[in-house]
């Protein structure tokens, strides 16, 4: 092939790529959806919720993700959406350094909704769990399992992203609950990393260094799976607890290697931001800061509480919901029907309610 032909081929390939995607912005409203931790099953559940909202409301949703959780990379994706003409953007906010850039975008007239990770300096609503309270629930569940206020022993706490306010708040809540037992000594929070392999390795090292620990508690999605494997390998000697209703986490609970996992309503965290944005765009309303509680879910092998007033489900049904987006959409129908324009336009709680 001659040089000229090669260059033409590359140009043609690039043009094909470009025009092949030309139909992507067919709908009138385009919402940009930016998330952290690409490949994380919990974040994927959030995106499934966002897509369900876009389908229900007849808008185009375009997602962008970064592999980790660095604020600068995330902000660039949001800026690219704003510059590309997206009418609204939902984003997790993994750092305070995003605040100024996000507020500039909001000032330019593009509405933003935060989900899952927030900065209180951003002048936009936040959809997520009550982070300190969910930590309190987790700590209380583990403490009850250990024997309540008379419990004794070492509890290890792990955080996959030290410095994320939501995770720090969860740690605070867990420690608050555990402090009720004077015989409990809490070690950590230790950095246990977010990738599945790193996460397991870090927990394994922590347990090797503290083989007498009575409970190991994680604050992120991969922890329950890692702790379940670790517990299985050591004869189920400790109480394992953590967050999120991923397929593997639920499997660990069902098999008895992990005791409890706290869900933070991933579907709601994806669905509600898109619904809020579409309502604001269609109604020409400005949306200000505030807190929308996505609700906490509590799952043990014996009890499944899905929160948000949703009908009770069996453990097997909860497992099916974790792995089947279509089943999840059906299950959440009673909740999505409550999202009327009136409800979406109502004044939210102050954003400080998130960490109460």
């Amino acid at each position: 092939m001659t040089f000229g032909k090669t260059v033409s081929t590359i140009a043609l390939a690039a043009a094909t790529l470009a025009f092949g995607a030309a139909g992507a912005f067919a709908e009138d409203i385009t919402i940009g959806f930016v998330a952290h931790a690409q490949g994380d099953p919990f974040v994927q559940q959030i995106q499934d919720g966002a897509q369900a909202a876009a389908d229900d409301l007849g808008v185009k949703l375009v997602t962008a993700q970064q592999a980790g959780g660095a604020p600068e990379g995330q902000l660039k994706l949001v800026q690219n959406f704003a510059n590309s003409g997206a009418q609204g953007i939902a984003t997790s906010v993994p750092g305070e350094s995003m605040a100024r850039g996000l507020n500039d975008i909001i000032s330019s007239g593009v509405p933003i909704v935060q989900f899952n990770l927030l900065s209180q300096a951003v002048e936009a609503p936040y959809v997520g769990e009550k982070s300190v309270e969910s930590g309190r629930i987790l700590g209380r569940m583990v403490l009850d399992k250990l024997g309540g206020e008379n419990a004794k022993g070492t509890v290890i706490l792990g955080n996959c992203f030290p410095g994320f306010p939501v995770l720090e708040n969860r740690a605070k809540g867990v420690e608050e609950s555990l402090a009720k037992a004077s015989g409990i000594k809490v070690l950590g929070p230790f950095d246990v990393k977010v990738s599945a392999v790193d996460n397991y390795n870090h927990w394994e090292q922590l347990y090797s260094a503290n083989p007498d620990a009575v409970a190991l508690i994680g604050l992120c999605a991969p922890d329950v799976t890692s702790l379940g494997k670790l517990n299985a390998a050591h004869g189920d000697k400790f109480v394992a607890g953590g967050y999120d209703l991923t397929e593997l986490n639920l499997k660990a609970v069902k098999e008895g290697h992990a005791y409890v996992t706290i869900g933070q309503s991933a579907f709601v965290q994806g669905y509600l931001p898109v619904a809020l944005l579409v309502n604001a765009i269609k109604g020409g309303k400005k949306i200000g800061p505030g807190f929308y509680d996505a609700g906490s879910q509590v799952v043990t092998a014996d009890k499944v509480d899905m929160g948000n007033g949703l009908p009770p489900v069996s453990f097997d049904e909860a497992q099916k919901l974790a792995s089947d987006p279509k089943a999840t959409i059906e299950y959440y129908k009673p909740w999505t029907k409550t999202l009327t324009a009136e409800m979406l336009s109502a004044e939210p709680k102050p954003i400080s309610a998130e960490s109460e």
Binding site: A14, V62, Q66, P165
Partner: protein, 320 residues
């Protein structure tokens, strides 16, 4: 024709293709926004050119950036004048680079091995110092914050202008000064450079200190621009920085480097990221497309270089 013509052509071609399909992409506001997005990592890429030219790689750049920014921000929180705190941050970055250089030179270890360790050391110390939380200087009334985040004519960030000026200075430093020639000589053939009387250890040390100082500058400017530094910021910088330098045409084999290429390489990375969003390509496909377009861009550059060398050979044969 300059050697960077290939990557420049690849960049322009990409911008043209995206611009034709999505005219909004060529809006000056978007283009200046892209330049602004290039600034902080782009600065690190400028320093990395010197390192690759001397056959070294510094893996700790992201955490030198972070640690310097954290120190500068903490000094601001403590009440030090932000300009002085920024200067201290740059000096601190240079000190971190000095630590890397001192270990590498004293133990005669490649910088990549040393910085494999200091990567975690600097990250860990930064986390200890910032307590795992974002540092947000509460008083941002100083003109340090106003100047760094100011946009000339409403679109061109001052930080981006500093990046361009730094690129010009680094280009001159690499190609027009004794230090630059020495860096390339050591990278080309360290033994020959030593025989020629070049103090190779000192040049390596100076290059690593320079890298640290640039990380300090980028980090402190980041604090001024964004008004905060998060504990995990910088964690994903190193691969992007090295990729930009290599896309720009600086070889891993050392002995040569191109500052213009590194700037263009970083722009290519930003344009790809932006283009994916303008085309509405979903997150699940974007990682593949990013890689594929990068390969296309590098292929175009290499094809142009190959064609030029073929022409030069043909000319030599004709005249010979």
């Amino acid at each position: 024709m300059p050697e960077e013509v290939g990557v420049i052509a690849a960049l322009l071609l990409m911008m043209l293709v995206i611009g034709i399909a999505r005219p909004r992409f060529l809006n000056p506001i978007n283009l200046f926004s892209l330049l602004g997005n290039t600034t902080f990592l782009g600065m690190l890429a400028l320093g990395m050119v010197f390192l690759l030219a001397i056959r070294e790689i510094d893996l700790s750049v992201g955490w030198m950036f972070n640690f310097s920014a954290v120190v500068a921000a903490l000094l601001m929180v403590a009440g030090l004048d932000p300009w002085l705190a920024a200067f201290a941050g740059i000096l601190f970055g240079a000190c971190l680079g000095f630590v890397n250089g001192l270990i590498a030179v004293t133990l005669r270890l490649p910088a990549i091995i040393v910085t494999l360790g200091t990567y975690s050391m600097f990250q860990g110390l930064s986390l200890v110092v910032n307590n795992g939380r974002a540092i947000v200087p509460s008083d941002q009334s100083s003109n340090f914050f106003r100047v760094i985040s100011y946009k000339l004519f409403g679109v061109l960030p001052v930080a981006a202008l500093v990046f361009v000026l730094l690129a010009v200075a680094m280009h001159i430093l690499l190609h027009r000064t004794r230090f630059g020639y020495r860096v390339q000589a050591v990278g080309s053939n360290p033994e020959a450079a030593a025989h020629a009387g070049i103090p190779t250890a000192r040049v390596r040390l100076q290059t690593l200190v320079l890298m640290g100082a640039i990380c300090g500058l980028s980090g402190t400017m980041y604090v001024g621009f964004r008004g905060a530094i998060d504990p995990n910021e910088g964690s994903d910088f190193v691969l992007v920085v090295i990729a930009a330098v290599i896309i720009g045409g600086t070889p891993l084999s050392g002995g040569h480097g191109t500052i213009i290429g590194a700037v263009v390489g970083m722009m290519i990375i930003q344009v790809i990221s932006s283009g994916l969003i303008f085309f509405g390509i979903d997150a699940t496909w974007s990682t593949f497309v990013t890689g594929a377009v990068t390969v296309l861009a590098v292929s175009l550059d290499r094809l142009i270089k190959y064609q030029r060398s073929r022409r030069a050979e043909t000319r030599r044969e004709t005249h010979g």
